[in-house]
């Protein structure tokens, strides 16, 4: 038990090993800081967190130290006293900011960070409105090719060295370093060694000012116009928690969201930059039914009626002739609703798992010289889908075992197959020619997907799918962590979210409420019993106890 006094407020920090910034956070007091980051080592170089620190003696008197002390580097112990609002602390903060701003170009209007810049925020809250600098500012040249995705505006840098420490401690690739000394210090790369590791873009989020910029987002939008929604990255089975920044139904960027249950503080560039397919104009924009006469129907009402009756007709002839493929890109709710629908058509209908995209091996960070990863801080999984675990559990519940679609089609020839695909990515096709030829043998093909393909051409029914940014639901990551997706964009006019389509097929009234469906799933599938109530919170819920 340890008690820390922050601005005369007592806070019990228990047995936790905290520094003064973290302890103050518990008391609801913000100590401004640039170089300190909970995931990185402490260097106390920015001097922004200078505060007055003292100790409460057993007799009740308080003895303050005569100088201001960096809060990030000072461990909180019993009876520590912190004063952040005294004249001494305030003058330390203001003077630090004046010093940091000496060479800052103040080009906020053209800086992409403006609006979410710590230098702006702290200057406003703790700084002076005037600078006493009379000399010319340093104008080091920009480095637009720091990496394929990263550009450095050298003059805006405040030398907090977060990016340097990130590449050394988290990615382990150590591309960045500080060159020169004093006010001429700059961030730089080694010649011919650009910042191109798969975690590189995290330095843009880490940068408290606008020095490091993502080329993908650069100049596309001002941040104050963006609306942020909590979501989950659909790039791999790590299931990074993310912020989805959108405006007017366009996704502009993905940012990692701190989640100790999922990935920590960061995300990989594959996930971060892999969202562009969502905004693509090539996506299937309306449902389509190819009639035998060659005519096309694209009215939802007619297609739903016809789809249901046609599946029932197939099932009445051959009870086990209906099958559905559930892709690992569906949410748990969607998988459950589709499975319920297919089983309501025919209890003998078969549910199979769609192809699981796997690329290479799991990619562990930090990179080390040896081949065996030690002290892993971040992993990019080779399973490039967000919800294999969740869909497997749904199929297991209905079928008892999980069978891959290719294995199933090798041994069986169903009369009708509902393909719920929704695989992300525009360029790469999720099926190979073998699978396509197997699909083509099936008389009644119903395909639900994001992009037109040879498969949609061969299908009688084509139903548009919604991207992860447009739907609500649950993804279960590789470790059984269930996380909530929230919609940030509205699908195109004629597109219904996958879950809504299944709800309509089931003839259930109303709009899809993911929380209600989750509650329903928790009652019928024991694996998901912890989803009871439907609320997962921002950090998600582990469905199984961790070993």
């Amino acid at each position: 038990m340890a008690t820390v006094y922050i601005n005369d407020k007592a806070v019990d920090i228990g047995d936790k090993k905290l520094n003064l910034v973290q302890a103050a956070e518990l008391a609801g007091v913000t100590i401004p800081h640039y170089c300190y980051h909970p995931a990185l080592s402490v260097v106390a170089s920015c001097r922004m967190c200078l505060v007055e620190v003292g100790e409460k003696k057993p007799d009740g008197t308080v003895v303050m130290q005569p100088r201001v002390i960096p809060a990030c580097q000072t461990p909180a112990k019993d009876n520590t006293v912190i004063q952040t609002a005294t004249a001494k602390s305030k003058s330390a903060q203001a003077q630090t900011l004046e010093s940091i701003l000496l060479n800052h170009p103040l080009d906020c209007p053209v800086c992409d960070k403006a609006g979410e810049c710590k230098l702006q925020d702290y200057s406003y809250n703790y700084g002076n409105s005037e600078s006493r600098m009379v000399d010319d500012k340093n104008t080091p040249p920009n480095k637009p090719d720091l990496g394929n995705n990263i550009s450095l505006f050298t003059d805006r840098c405040i030398m907090c060295s977060r990016c340097v420490r990130f590449t050394r401690e988290i990615s382990g690739t150590a591309e960045l370093h500080v060159i020169n000394r004093g006010s001429h210090a700059e961030i730089d790369i080694f010649p011919t060694e650009p910042l191109n590791n798969k975690l590189a873009s995290n330095v843009v989020d880490l940068c408290p000012v606008g020095a490091l910029a993502s080329k993908d987002f650069l100049y596309t939008h001002r941040v104050w116009n963006l609306k942020t929604q909590d979501s989950v990255c659909a790039g791999c089975s790590t299931g990074c928690s993310i912020h989805l920044d959108t405006n007017k139904n366009v996704v502009y960027r993905l940012r990692p969201r701190e989640n100790p249950n999922a990935q920590g503080y960061f995300m990989c560039d594959d996930g971060r930059l892999g969202y562009h397919y969502v905004n693509s104009s090539n996506r299937i924009s309306k449902p389509n039914l190819k009639l035998d006469s060659g005519a096309d129907i694209s009215s939802w009402k007619d297609i739903m009626l016809s789809l249901r009756s046609e599946l029932k007709a197939v099932a009445s002839k051959n009870a086990s002739g209906v099958a559905a493929m559930l892709s690992p890109f569906l949410t748990v709710e969607e998988g459950f609703l589709l499975a319920t629908f297919i089983k309501s058509i025919s209890p003998k209908a078969k549910l199979v798992l769609g192809p699981v995209p796997v690329v290479g091996e799991d990619d562990h960070y930090p990179k080390t010289r040896g081949s065996v990863p030690v002290n892993v801080k971040f992993t990019i999984r080779n399973e490039k889908c967000p919800n294999k675990k969740g869909i497997e559990e749904v199929i297991k519940h209905f079928e008892g075992e999980v069978v891959l679609v290719s294995d199933y089609l090798n041994k069986n020839s169903p009369d009708a197959l509902f393909i719920a695909a929704g695989y992300q990515g525009e360029e790469v096709s999720w099926f190979d020619n073998n699978l396509l030829s197997q699909f083509k043998k099936i008389k009644l093909l119903i395909t639900q997907d994001l992009f037109p393909s040879a498969l949609t051409d061969a299908s009688k029914y084509v139903i548009p799918s919604a991207a992860f940014s447009e739907k609500e639901g649950t993804f279960v990551n590789f470790a059984g962590l269930a996380q909530e997706l929230h919609w940030a964009c509205v699908p195109l006019k004629q597109v219904r979210t996958d879950g809504q389509v299944y709800l309509d097929l089931l003839e259930r009234k109303g709009l899809l409420q993911a929380a209600n469906i989750r509650d329903e799933i928790s009652k019928s599938i024991p694996y998901f019993s912890r989803l009871a109530g439907g609320k997962l919170g921002s950090d998600g819920i582990h469905l199984v106890n961790l070993a």
Binding site: P105, V110, K137, Y219
Partner: protein, 199 residues
């Protein structure tokens, strides 16, 4: 403010003469007739009536008419595509698409800059928000067009308003200021520090 500092003023009560309004009407007519008389018979400098459209009025320089996009010394668009005007605009009539600038002395410029002149309410907030004095409202007041599309002004048209108003002399270039960077320095201290944008 203390209670004893407040002076309560009552509006004057209407008397009989005020209630019948006729005296006020006659007072007004006297003003009109005086102006008419001075226009017809008085010296030319007292003429109040303007013969619009043959005679164009001289509007004050702060009149808020059609927008223009200013050019810098080299004839390039001054705008740095910071979106401050579109953020400040209460009518949401400004659309900007930013792009990396082709010039070495700045980072960003507007690839597209469109103002919907019909949607605009001519409040002048864009002018105030602009950190580089790139957008200004001119004294051009008689804006007409044959279609709504014609009234959506793009970058070229807004620059041509600048050329036109400068040539006419109605709205001369008001300031050569307009480089980013001096936000924190007080104007009076004679600071010469580098205020230019860096590349």
């Amino acid at each position: 403010m203390k209670a004893d500092e407040i002076t309560w003023v009552k509006s004057p009560e209407f008397g009989v003469m005020d209630q019948i309004f006729l005296p006020a009407i006659f007072t007004g007519l006297v003003t009109t007739l005086t102006h008419m008389g001075s226009t017809l018979f008085g010296p030319k400098k007292d003429v109040v009536t303007q013969q619009f459209p043959e005679q164009r009025p001289h509007l004050p320089a702060n009149y808020r008419g059609v927008h223009r996009l200013n050019r810098d010394d080299e004839g390039r668009v001054k705008c740095v595509a910071c979106y401050m005007c579109s953020t400040a605009c209460p009518a949401h009539c400004i659309d900007i698409v930013a792009a990396p600038s082709p010039w070495p002395d700045r980072e960003k410029y507007p690839e597209v800059f469109v103002i919907d002149e019909l949607r605009c309410i001519y409040c002048g907030m864009c002018e105030q928000a602009c950190p580089v004095d790139a957008i200004e409202l001119t004294t051009l007041y008689d804006l007409t067009g044959h279609s709504r599309e014609e009234m959506i002004f793009n970058k070229e048209k807004l620059l041509s308003v600048f050329d036109k108003t400068v040539a006419m002399g109605t709205d001369p270039i008001r300031t050569t200021h307009g480089r980013l960077g001096v936000a924190s320095e007080p104007a009076s201290s004679g600071v010469t520090g580098s205020s230019s944008m860096q590349t």
